[in-house]
Amino acid sequence: MRRPRIVTPELQERHGNLGRLLAIIGGAVLALSALLPWSYGFDALDGMTLMFYPSPLQIMGLVLGLVVVLGLVCSRRFPVRRGRPVTGWLRGARAAASGALLYVAIILIAIAVELGGLVNVTLGGWVALVGAALAFVGTRLVAPGPRGTLYDAHARNWLELLAVALVMAAALFGLAYALDTDDPGIFVSFLVFVGTVIAALSGLGVTGWLSAVSQRHRSVLILAAFVVAFLFPFTQNGSDANMSIATQVIIFASAAMGLNIVVGLAGLLDLGYIAFLGAGAFMAAVVSRSAFATLDIHPPFVVVVLMSGLVAATLGLIIGTPTLRVSGDYLAIVTLAFGEIFRITMINLDGEAGPDLTHGSNGIPAIPDLQLGGFNFGKAHTLLGIPLGRFSNYYFLLLLVIALIILVFTRLNNSRIGRGWVAIREDEKAAEAMGVNVFGLKLFAFAGGAFLAGVAGSVKAHVDVSVTPDQYVFLQSAFLLAAIVLGGMGTVLGVLVGAALLVLLPEKLRFVSEYRLLLFGLTLIVMMRFRPEGLIANRRRQLEFHEEDEELAERIDDQIQPSELKGATV
């Protein structure tokens, strides 16, 4: 399918200067409109009613406007020089302008919805819309210019480290801000803003540079990421409601990361993955100190974690051994069936249809909080004067779990095993002919993924307080899969983003909760059709999905750093 082109290169050539002027004016108007009130009522969004006192959302509009102006001005001031890395000024401005139009439109719609009608939008709002529209039309009229090649650029070391720190700080503030909004309008607008900024940076070529920088300063980056994740609870002022969501994100992300090994690296579609999480959770529950626990052994938690992992891995071996020998499609359906077997078995082990192990569909409630050494996870603690509630405690524990899973993921990915998986994924027969132990590696991925799910499940049992069979149904497996598909198969960052989106979106957008699953199914279909490699693409994976796209292949070829040739990670 080719899109019809309204703006042709000839048109751009003829009216390029006009477009440039329009866009600069539009961007400036959008930026200045932040000083005007946008709405009549104070109740809409974050209260954009004051003259010369922009609200956070208006400041975001201002930023987008400035980016447009900056891109256009700089493209003249800093023309492309041979042998120097190119900054894609015009592409950045273009992305910022398109995003800004969407952003302003969404804000106006949100004002109209929340206050009842577009009459509540004041002059400032309309000025912003006109500005964004001018910028959009203007940037379209200018030829897009060269693609940014900043990934070749090397800045001073301290500058690169500063950039990493800035990105991390931005991520921290962004997350805190997103979690703190109760208003769906603000949340959606903010998401659009973040998406626009990322698109503009990628147009400029900055994302390519950041990705290269993160390759050069890998350990710093990872350290910084964990520092940020560690600092997160301290931004929440002891609010356990937000921390509860954050722990849900991490549990979900750990499970998704485990599944990512199976699906993203080895290419095995596992549709019953949630059952392994459930197996770990039930294992931890039946040996917990709950009054309803059925086994009268209470090993220390470290042992419980291992036991949960091993039980899940054993189940993985039992399911994997017969099915991994035959064609991959069977695995999908057998794991789906296994998920059902697991759920039915957990319901049936209630003392009537089988031995009493799980109390049937009631599950095991009242699982006590963890007690590690003298530290009780259920009690609120105070660190550096900042109160940390129950969920904050579990949050730190879960950070450790997900760190372990990410470590396993990246180490495996960059090893001989990981390369074997890639080979199997791309062409099983060729891999076998090259001496890759296909069955062994597949089984290892499958059972290993199950082990990690079991580990995550054992913690989840304590966080959730109760374990019931209906928490572990097919739909949950589908959600995990969706997190991977949405974020990007085989990447760490992508899966984190996907998991965060899939937990946060339904939490913050209650008004679509009725249509949640419908949209979810549609997302899977549309993603597979138009961007099967996910929002954040693993380069090799992207090539696998777009085998016939020569231009893409060359572009990726240009970007790959020599240090990367050993393994394909982003």
């Binding site: 359906i333 899969l481 899977l524 279909i525 597979m528």
Partner: protein, 312 residues
């Protein structure tokens, strides 16, 4: 007599699986795609039949409405199947194998939600968020028949007869018509059959439509037999039917019918003859899936042998 009774129960349950399993096998035989959404096509067949009844004969249970319900169910199911094929699967035909599988899951969830959310919005239609009673048509439902000491529900008999007729139609269609032979050729070698002048896109459409039509028949039979339908019936039925298709040998149409019947019998006999706590209806689904895993271990090509060249 008990054994014979269980055999009849098993056959009638298996007939339902067999009707759905044909759809999996035909599609898999040609495009090597496990169409997860096929269970949902079955569900839509049942809802389509119900919709026709609600629109044309609400309150009446005369036998005359049955053919109309059948046509309505088949129409809805075939339409949905063709739409999903055209807009969801066809663009992915050359994509890596993972992509269409994930799409199929998306389609499956999407169709379920479509029925759940929007069926009740049509004026005069009941809300589909919980089970809806299915019209109990005279003649094909009602008091059970007693044939020589074996009790046969009328709905079960209807399912069996429907399977017999459909199997006869399938045999005729696949072996005696040009379209059917073109389908066989395509499933053996799509590239060569394209060279021989077969429109492969059309054949794939026919395969989807054929499977959907049989699934719709199964949907109607399900409604008559179990008196209630809801938007979730497709999930388990689809899973079982896929098991049946693998049991018979995927890609093999005769195998799908045989596999369905065998699966039905196994399920019923496991429920009534396994002693102790592991018998009983609570475990019947587990036994069906254990059978699937056993088949994959000991006879992955299925009872009658898979007819699919492994192009993995």
């Amino acid at each position: 007599m008990d054994v014979l009774q269980q055999l009849v129960n098993g056959l009638s349950l298996g007939a339902l699986y067999a009707l759905i399993a044909v759809g999996y096998t035909v599609v898999y035989g040609i495009v090597q795609l496990i169409n997860f959404a096929h269970g949902e096509i079955f569900m839509i067949g049942a809802f389509g039949a119900l919709a026709v009844w609600l629109l044309m004969a609400q309150g009446s249970v005369g036998l005359w409405i049955l053919p109309l319900m059948l046509i309505g169910g088949v129409g809805f199911a075939v339409g949905t199947a063709l739409l999903t094929e055209r807009f969801a699967y066809r663009p992915l035909r050359n994509a890596p194998r993972l992509a269409p599988l994930i799409t199929a899951i998306g389609v499956s969830i999407f169709l379920q939600e479509l029925i759940r959310l929007f069926f009740g919005r049509i004026p005069g239609f009941p809300d589909a968020k919980s089970a809806i009673p299915f019209p109990q048509i005279d003649g094909v439902t009602g008091p059970a028949l007693d044939i020589g000491g074996v009790i046969v529900q009328r709905g079960a008999l209807f399912t069996l007869i429907a399977l017999l007729l459909c199997a006869a139609f399938l045999f005729f269609f696949v072996n005696k018509t040009r379209l059917g032979r073109a389908m066989q050729a395509t499933s053996q070698d799509p590239d060569t059959s394209r060279l021989m002048g077969i429109n492969v896109d059309r054949i794939i459409g026919v395969a989807f439509a054929l499977g959907a039509a049989l699934a719709a028949v199964a949907g109607l039979a399900y409604g008559l037999r179990y008196t209630n339908i809801d938007f979730r019936i497709g999930f388990l039925a689809g899973l079982k039917a896929f098991t049946a298709a693998v049991l018979g040998g995927i890609g093999n149409i005769n195998g799908a019918v045989l596999g369905g019947l065998v699966l039905g019998i196994v399920e019923v006999t496991a429920t009534s003859f396994i002693p102790g706590t592991f018998g009983g209806s609570a475990w019947k689904d587990v036994w069906a899936f254990v059978l699937l895993i056993l088949v994959l271990v000991f006879r992955p090509q299925g009872l009658l042998g898979a007819r699919v060249v492994d192009r993995a």
